[in-house]
Structures are given as C-alpha cells and as structure tokens.
C-alpha cells in the first residue's frame, strides 16, 4: 500500500505543468455554463407545475445530458491519452519499471489519477451548478414550488452514479492507451465510439453494455432506480465491466503480450478462466431483463397525501363513459381494492376528483400501487407495481411518425404504390422490433400479453395508414389497382377482429369498423353503414362494446331529437348486457339536456365580495362561462383570450363570467382579485352537482347560454380558436369580421 501511495504521489509530480486537472475543471464547467445561458435566454418561460422540487438538484440534472453525453466522455478520452502519453513519449514506462515500484502500483496509480480527473469534473459540475443556480435566483424569477435545501443523499447518489457510469469507458480507454504507444489510436477509437453511439441510438440497437450507453442512461434517469436500489443495473454492469477490463488490461500490460498474460502458464490461464466465468456470469445476471412476478391476487392499492384527500375514489372503465366499477373508500390516506374476477389486460381509470384521474393497466394477478400527492398548486400521480414497465412504455409514445405517413398525407409518391408499400412494410417491421427493446431503468421489460397487444396496436396504425393509401389511390387513379402484397396480408392476419380488450383503443375500433364496412358499397354515411354491420355481429360482449361505442357516437353526432329517437329505436335492443343499454339511455339524456335550446340547469355561486349569484339572475342577457381552477394549467393558458373577448364585447348584451371549481376558496379569492373586472369572478357553491349536470369532466370548459336561460352551446371550442369568436358573433347577431 505504501508502494502504491508513493507511486500516486510520484504521478502527481510527473503531471506538473500539464494542466490535466485544469482540463477536468474546464470541461466540467461547460455544461452548467451552457445551462445558465439557457436559463437567462428562456427567462419567464418556465411554467410552475406546482409540484415541489429541489432547485439545485434540478439545475444539475439539466446539465447531465450534455455533460454525460459529450463533454465527460471527451474529457476521459483526452485525459487518459495525455496521462499515458507522458510515459509513452518519454520512455517513462521503462523508467518506472526499473524503479523499486510494483507494476500494480504503476498501473493503478495512473488509473487513479484519471479517476481523480473524473471526480474533479463531476465536482466542478456540481459546484458550478450550485453557484450558478444561486446567482440566477437574484436575476430570474424562481418558481414558487422550488425548494433550496442541501439534498445530501440525493447529491451523493447522483455523483456516485455518474462516477460509476463513467468507469467502464474510462477503464476501456485506459487499457487501450497503455497498450498502444501511439496516441492516435486511443483517440480515434474513443471518438469512433462517440460517433457510433449516435448511429446506434438512431437505430435503437445500442446494447446495454456499450460504454457510452451506461453514461447516457445515467443522464436520462437522474433519479435512478424506481424500485429503491442505490444504483441501477446499468451502473452495476459498468462496475463489473470495469473490473474485467482492468484485469485483462493489467495482466496484458504486466506480461507485455496477451499470449504471455493468459496462455503463459496454467496458473494464469486458470485465473483468466475463473475471473471470466465469475464476472461474465454476474454480468449476464445483471443484464438479463426481468419481468415482474405475478401477485397472488389482483389488487390496486395506493396512498393519497396532501390537501383535499377525497373520501372515496372511483375505479372506472375507460370504454364505458361513467361506468363505475367500484367506489373505493380512502382510510388514513390509503386505499385498497381487490378484483374478484379474472380479468383480461385492460386499461382502467382511477378517479380521485373531478379534475384528477390516473389510467392504470390491470390484468389477473397484478398488484398496482398508486401514489398521489396533492400540493397547493398541483398534483402528481405515480403508478408502480407489476405493470410499471408497461405504464412507462405507454408514457414514452414509442410509435413515432414515420416518413411513409408523411408521404401518404402529402400525396407524395402516390403514383408509385410499390415504393410506398415497401416503405410501409419496412417501417412497420422496425416499429415492431422497437416495441420489444423497451426496458425500465431497473431492467424490467413489459410482459408478453402487453407486448402482444401493443404490437397489434402498432400494426393497426400501419394498416390504417394502408387503408388511407388505398382510398386515396382509388380517388386519384380510379383505373389503377393497388395490390395488397403478401406482407400486407400478413399484417392483416396478425390483427384479430374480435378482441374485446383492444376496444379500449379508438384506433382498434376504427380499424375493425373499416374492415366491417369494407365491402359495403351502398351510398350511405359511415356511421349508418357501421351500425348496420355491427347489428349483424354475433351477440356477445364484443358486439355490445362495438355497438355501444358506435351508437353513442351516432347519438352525439345526430342533430335533432327525432334522429336520436330513431337511432335508439333501431339499435338499442341489440345489446346483450343490459348495462350498456342503460348507459346509452343515460348518455342520450345528458346529450339531450345539453343540446341547443335545452334549459341550462340553474346553479348558484359566490362572488369575491361574498355576494350570492344565481344563473337565473342573468335572464335577459346572454351568458358566457369559463369553468376553471387555479391549479389547472390549460385554464390559465386560455383565460387571457377569454378576458380579451370580454373587453372587446363589453358593450353587447352578454355577461362574461369565470366560474372556479377550486376546492380551496382562499386560493381562488387571491387570484380572482387580480383578474379583470370585465369578467364576473365567481366560485361555484356545489361543484359536484355542477360537474354532473354540466357533464364537466374536464376543464377548461366554455358554455354559452341565451337570454332565456337555454343552451346555445354547452361545449364551445377553446377561446384561442378563431371559431370561438365566430360562434359568439353569430349568436349576438353581429356581422362577420373582415
């Protein structure tokens, strides 16, 4: 050990005047400096989501991508090359070997200098982030939900993980640079790895052990393991790979040739075999993807913290509007629900209040854990449990827009069906392989039932594209045929036409619909053709769902009560399950009640000064309502447009009002006071009743009522949209604006 510290001290004499540590500081400083510049450039654009976060940790996390993706690897390539070249250029390797210093000390003291350089770079990144972040607080507005405490543990693990993630690349470059006397090779290989990484990423084929992937993963998941491990599997892999690399590199260096090092005698060969078996074994174990273990029951549990914890939450079916499967009581901030049936994999929705819900995936033997936090001005929902990989996969939106969809949309290459077909099929194939490569930061992959489903959904996207293409070609080139190739047939074959579970997806419904009416050449609208086709399906729950979906759509689209009555008379008796029938009738009622000319339900609300208002008070005037809440981001975005119109039409016979559905009246009162007086600021008295009667599932919501208290439009477009003002002017009898 003394031998080692001696060698380390000597290395520090040797690197005098080379500025190696100075470079670590410089390259560590670049990313925070860039981020500070970005912060100043984006001044005021930061939206406060209302979820508390540590200001400094977030600052550091914002610097991670450029740092771990480029500047840090660059530093490693440079440092390693320079520190080894000091000896390659000056005959230092031989000089060191003719000193009373062990080769282990020589080799690893030098490596330690590189690790110091890495730590200095990371330290600079952290230090400058704190400094820069602190200075920025004097010049920039800091979101109210930011906190400023010194997060020891978080910071420690961030630094430790960054350090671990960089180990393998460092060790790899180091053994190369020691073995190859010419500086050019290690630098070339280093840059090649950097460049190749860009391509590997683009084609989504980066292996988990790729030196730069380890760093990039760390930067993409700054919070680390979702399952509470200290480090992620990727960092564990980095560590194992480092051990192996250094072992090979050192033996090679020590014995001067790979043959001598490992085939020299039986002992060395045995050591190699032993180390290889152990490390590679552990590595395979670490990198082998996991799937979550099935639970013995099917259960949803969760905790709800913060203000306004609801008494009950609702488990809803996404497919059936308002079809509540269960009311789950919340006790001591926790809830639990056990499914008693065997379920197929279906997406449900947990509803916490009118404004907050969370989709969850559940199938038999799943245990889903939900954590909800309500903050003053925001909330977040985390879903964990046996479907964590699937939830994350869904949130990633893996099927990105392809070139072929652009061609078809823009009518490019329409005269070349072979080309479009070929592109479509190859894009489909790569999308299929993409869907199987997803894994979480803890190396968990989605289960097969889910992957099969998402593959079908992916295929449908491409089949819908194909159908569009065929339709367009039929219109543009009526004489020509568009040949369905074997590949397209194979795609079609892989999609079943009667999968109930998939019906939760609009795209699947659309596809089944298109297949059902493909041969119907009658001159009818699509809705009628679809209803006719569905009516002919075999009775059962699949038909029920198809019918429910289509019938409700048709009811919504129908313009008169007479049309709706006919639709119900013709098709509502097609349901096997009475539940769907009842739901349809109820939906129709709501549609009718919100229809043009139907009386708007009366409600009462309170003004800022405490004065009571009722909708009935405004008879004789048009009333236009903005339903909002202080914590609702999109509402905040729309209200300025609404306020502007209130100013523009203040002379007309119309009352602009904003009705808040905030739980916390104090929150509302504070903000409402600061708003324009041209809009009457009200707070609803009974928000639950209002939500139900006005079918206000989501906000912002804009409603227009005529002087007689009847609906003109119960669901106006967003005021940002030009049509909003057009409808308003038409209603008020004003001429169209030029």
């Amino acid at each position: 050990m003394q031998n080692f510290t001696t060698a380390l001290a000597a290395e520090h004499i040797k690197k005098r005047g080379t500025g190696i540590y100075l470079w670590s500081v410089i390259l560590g400083a670049v990313s925070p400096l860039i981020w500070i510049a970005v912060m100043f450039a984006q001044e005021g654009e930061n939206k406060d989501a209302g979820i508390p976060y540590n200001y400094y940790i977030k600052f550091i996390e914002s610097c991670l991508d450029p740092f771990a993706g480029f500047f840090f690897p660059l530093l490693i390539i440079i440092t390693v090359s320079r520190i080894t070249q000091l000896d390659h250029k000056n005959g230092g390797w031989q000089l060191m070997e003719t000193q009373p210093i062990k080769k282990t000390s020589i080799y690893f003291s030098k490596f330690l200098v590189v690790l110091f350089s890495n730590l200095i770079a990371i330290g600079t990144l952290v230090g400058l982030s704190y400094l820069g972040g602190y200075i920025a607080t004097f010049f920039l507005e800091v979101p109210k939900s930011a906190t400023f405490e010194f997060a020891y543990a978080e910071l420690f693990w961030l630094v430790a993980r960054l350090f671990l993630a960089s180990l393998f690349f460092t060790a790899f470059q180091y053994i190369l640079s020691v073995l190859l006397p010419s500086f050019i090779w290690s630098i070339l290989i280093g840059f090649f790895l950097l460049l190749a990484f860009i391509f590997l990423k683009a084609f989504n084929v980066t292996p988990d052990w790729y030196p730069l992937e380890l760093l990039s993963k760390m930067a993409s998941y700054p919070k680390g393991s979702q399952l509470g491990y200290w480090v992620t599997y990727s960092e564990t892999a980095s560590f194992l790979l480092t051990i192996f690399t250094l072992y090979i590199g050192f033996e090679w260096y020590k014995h001067k040739s790979i043959k001598q090092a490992f085939a020299g005698n039986a002992k060395r060969f045995g050591a190699l075999a032993g180390v290889t078996v152990i490390v590679i074994g552990l590595l395979v174990y670490t990198l082998w993807p996991n799937t979550t273990k099935p639970h013995n029951r099917t259960v949803v549990t969760g905790t709800i913290n913060g203000e306004h914890v609801p008494q009950n939450i609702y488990l809803m079916n996404t497919f059936l509007n308002n079809d509540t499967l269960a009311v789950i009581p919340v006790k001591d901030n926790a809830f639990k629900y056990v499914f008693d049936k065997k379920l197929p994999l279906i997406k449900y929705v947990l509803v916490f209040n009118e404004m907050l819900n969370a989709p969850i995936l559940v199938s038999a033997n799943d245990s889903v854990d939900v954590e909800v936090n309500f903050y003053k001005k925001g909330q977040d929902v985390k879903v964990r449990g046996t479907r964590l990989p699937e939830e994350e996969f869904n949130s990633k939106e893996n099927f990105s827009g392809s070139a072929v969809s652009y061609y078809i949309q823009e009518n490019i290459f329409m005269d070349n069906p072979e080309f479009i077909t070929k592109r479509l099929v190859s894009d489909w194939k790569s999308a299929m392989s993409e869907s199987t490569s997803f894994k979480t930061i803890d190396n968990y992959v989605p289960k097969k039932d889910f992957l099969d489903k998402s593959k079908i959904m992916g295929t449908i996207e491409y089949l819908n594209l194909w159908n569009t293409f065929v339709k367009k070609r039929a219109l543009m080139y009526p004489g020509e045929k568009t040949v369905e190739t074997e590949d397209i047939k194979e795609m079609k074959k892989s999609v079943p036409l009667d999968d109930e579970g998939l019906l939760a997806n609009q795209a699947y419904f659309d596809y089944v619909k298109s297949q059902l009416i493909a041969l119907d050449k009658r001159d009818l609208d699509e809705n009628s053709k679809t209803l006719a086709a569905i009516a002919k399906l075999k009775p059962g729950s699949f038909k029920d769902k198809m019918l429910f979906y289509q019938l409700n759509n048709s009811l919504k689209d129908a313009s008169t009560t007479a049309d709706r009555t006919t639709l119900l008379a013709d098709y509502s008796n097609g349901f096997t399950d009475k539940k769907y029938y009842n739901n349809t009738i109820a939906n129709n009622k709501t549609i009718e009640s919100l229809g043009k000319g139907m009386p708007a339900p009366l409600f009462s609300a309170t003004g800022i000064d405490g004065k009571q208002y009722n909708l009935a008070d405004f008879k004789g005037k048009y009333v236009i309502i903005d339903v909002w809440a202080t914590w609702c981001g999109p509402c905040r975005q729309q209200s300025p447009y609404f306020d502007k119109l209130a100013d523009k039409y203040q002379k007309e016979n119309i009352k602009f009002m904003a009705i808040s559905v905030d739980k916390n009246i104090a929150d509302w009162a504070m903000e409402a006071k600061a708003k324009t007086k041209k809009v009457l600021q009200l707070h609803i008295n009974n928000d639950e009743l209002f939500g139900k009667q006005y079918n206000a599932g989501t906000i912002p919501r804009f409603i227009l009522i005529d002087p007689n208290g009847n609906f003109v439009n119960a669901q106006l477009p967003q005021p940002e949209d030009k049509i909003f003002e057009k409808v308003l002017r038409e209603t008020l009898g004003l001429a169209e604006e030029k």
Partner: protein
C-alpha cells in the same frame, strides 16, 4: 567459426554481481535474439558490453532489468535469481536503458524529485547528484531545452540518485560529441573509483570500452564471442600494426627493417611496421630510443580493431 574465451578470472561466485547462465531469448520461433549468453560481471568492475548494433545488447540489457520478461530463469543478480527480486532489486540498481528516459516537460530538478519520490529518498540528495553530473546551473530549466549530452547526464544523475551498488547503462555515450563522451567517461571512472559502484555499460564503440573498462564482453549475432579483462583482450589481438613518427625516418627504415621486415615508410617522418602484439610495444620503444632515435609518437593503427571486426562478423 571459433569462440575465444579467456581464462576464467579466479573469483568466487559471490563476487559476481551479475551472472547469466546460458541466457536465451527469442521473439519468435524463427528468430533467436540471444543464444546461450553467459555473462560474469565481477563486483567493482566496469564491464564493457561490446557489440555492433543489432547484436543483442539492448535485449540483454532489457532482460537484465526485467523490462523484458525472462523466458527461462537464467539471470542471477546479487547472487540470487532476478525473477524473485523484482522490483525491490532496483533499490540497489540504477539503470539507463535505451535513449535517456526522462520527462521533457519537467525541469531537471523535477525529474530528480520524481525519482526521489519513487525511491523514498530525501530531496537533499538532488543537489549532490546535480553537481556530480555538472547540471547545477541548468537544474531549473526544462529537460526539453537540454542538449543531448545534458539529457544523458541528467538520466545518469537519475540513475545515481539512490547511490546504487550497480549501474546498468545502455549506450550512455551514443550520439554525444567527443567532449560529451569524455565527460561521461570520466564521470563513470570516478564513480567506480570513489564509490565502488559496479558499472555494466554497453556500447558499439571499441575505443570507448577500451579506454574505461576493466572487463569486456563482446557479443555479435546473439552469441557471446569473448569475455575477459581488458588485458586479456589485448592479448587476443595478435600482431599489432603501429605507426612511428620520428626524425629522419628515411634513415631509420633500413635499420628497422632488419628486425621488422614489414616496415615501410609512410611519409617524410612516419614509418609503419608490425609487432607481434601490443605487449611488444614498450620493449620496441625502449630499444628504439636507446639506439638514438628521436621519437615523437607511437600509435597503434588497427590491430584490435581488425580483430574485433573479424570477431563480430562471424556467423
């Protein structure tokens, strides 16, 4: 083909600081770089290891320092196998293998500080060795700015820092001008005399070895052709051609031709003739002076050189 081996000096094993027993080395199966090389370097000697470029000198040097791993255990240093002593054996060995290994971006002092740190030596020794090699004035300059001779001397200073018992120097005068060569030579002789350091020095220059060494080993094509003291070397050379500069050479030619039929007149004042060996020179000179000749110079022409060339050209 013949191998000349002088009589083994009468010394016991323990007095050899380095011994190799049939040292072999090959980089590949076809090419044998060293073939059965047995060296015996006595304690307290300056041992010149002589051979043309590519003979295997550097390979031997690298094997002796362990830079090249030995293929058999045939090297003994300080009476023990080298293999078990690495790297601690370097506490007692200073070495300079191949062209001077020093850090050009560091000053002379810093280079020595580096060695002092590696060897756990007090930094006070630095000034001492700097003055020994005559670099005190240039200690603060970067080694990059040094002349080749200064670099060579700094490298020797680095090897000397720990006051080793043994110095291994590979071509220490290679590329130096005559002045530089002389400085190094004088330094080595001084170290050997004053500090009793055994010096193993390789060179391809016969004259250099002849001037400072007590013992010589000659290697060519990977084989040891000769080993012995410098005197034994002289006896090996056979006839010795000398050139005599004297007054009135033309008159002296016939007189000398009686005993030395090979004598010819080279120029106005110079005669060239052959003697049976170097040992015959003093007697010849005495006789010549006694017979009244006014002799300015007697110079050995090429006896040893020719013999050496013949030796190293063997296959």
């Amino acid at each position: 083909m013949f191998v000349i081996l002088a009589n083994k000096p009468k010394q016991t094993m323990s007095e050899y600081i380095i011994q190799t027993h049939g040292l072999n080395f090959n980089y590949s199966k076809q090419r044998k770089v060293l073939d059965d090389v047995s060296l015996n370097i006595p304690k307290g000697s300056i041992y010149g290891f002589l051979g043309p470029n590519g003979a295997g000198k550097s390979t031997t040097m690298r094997l002796l320092t362990g830079i090249l791993p030995e293929q058999e255990n045939s090297i003994q240093i300080f009476g023990k196998p080298l293999a078990g002593q690495l790297p601690q054996v370097f506490d007692n060995i200073g070495s300079l293998v191949e062209s001077p290994a020093l850090y050009l971006h560091l000053s002379g002092t810093d280079n020595l500080k580096y060695i002092a740190k590696l060897r756990n030596l007090p930094e006070t020794k630095i000034a001492e060795v700097l003055s020994l090699v005559g670099l005190t004035r240039d200690a603060k300059r970067k080694a990059r700015q040094y002349s080749l001779g200064m670099k060579q001397r700094l490298a020797i200073a680095m090897a000397l820092l720990s006051e080793p018992q043994l110095l291994l120097l590979d071509e220490p005068v290679n590329g130096l001008d005559p002045n530089g060569m002389r400085d190094i030579r004088q330094l080595l002789v001084k170290l050997n005399k004053e500090k009793g350091i055994t010096i193993f020095v390789s060179s391809h220059l016969l004259a250099e070895i002849e001037r400072m060494c007590t013992h010589v080993g000659i290697i060519s094509n990977g084989k040891l052709r000769f080993e012995g003291t410098i005197e034994e070397l002289g006896q090996q050379s056979g006839t010795c051609k000398i050139m005599v500069s004297l007054k009135d050479a033309e008159a002296w030619l016939p007189k000398l031709a009686i005993d030395h039929p090979t004598a010819i007149q080279e120029s106005q004042s110079q005669l060239v003739l052959e003697l049976p060996g170097r040992e015959a020179i003093p007697a010849f000179a005495k006789a010549l002076v006694n017979s009244g000749a006014e002799v300015y110079e007697i110079k050995i022409l090429n006896g040893l050189e020719e013999w050496f060339m013949a030796l190293v050209n063997q296959q």
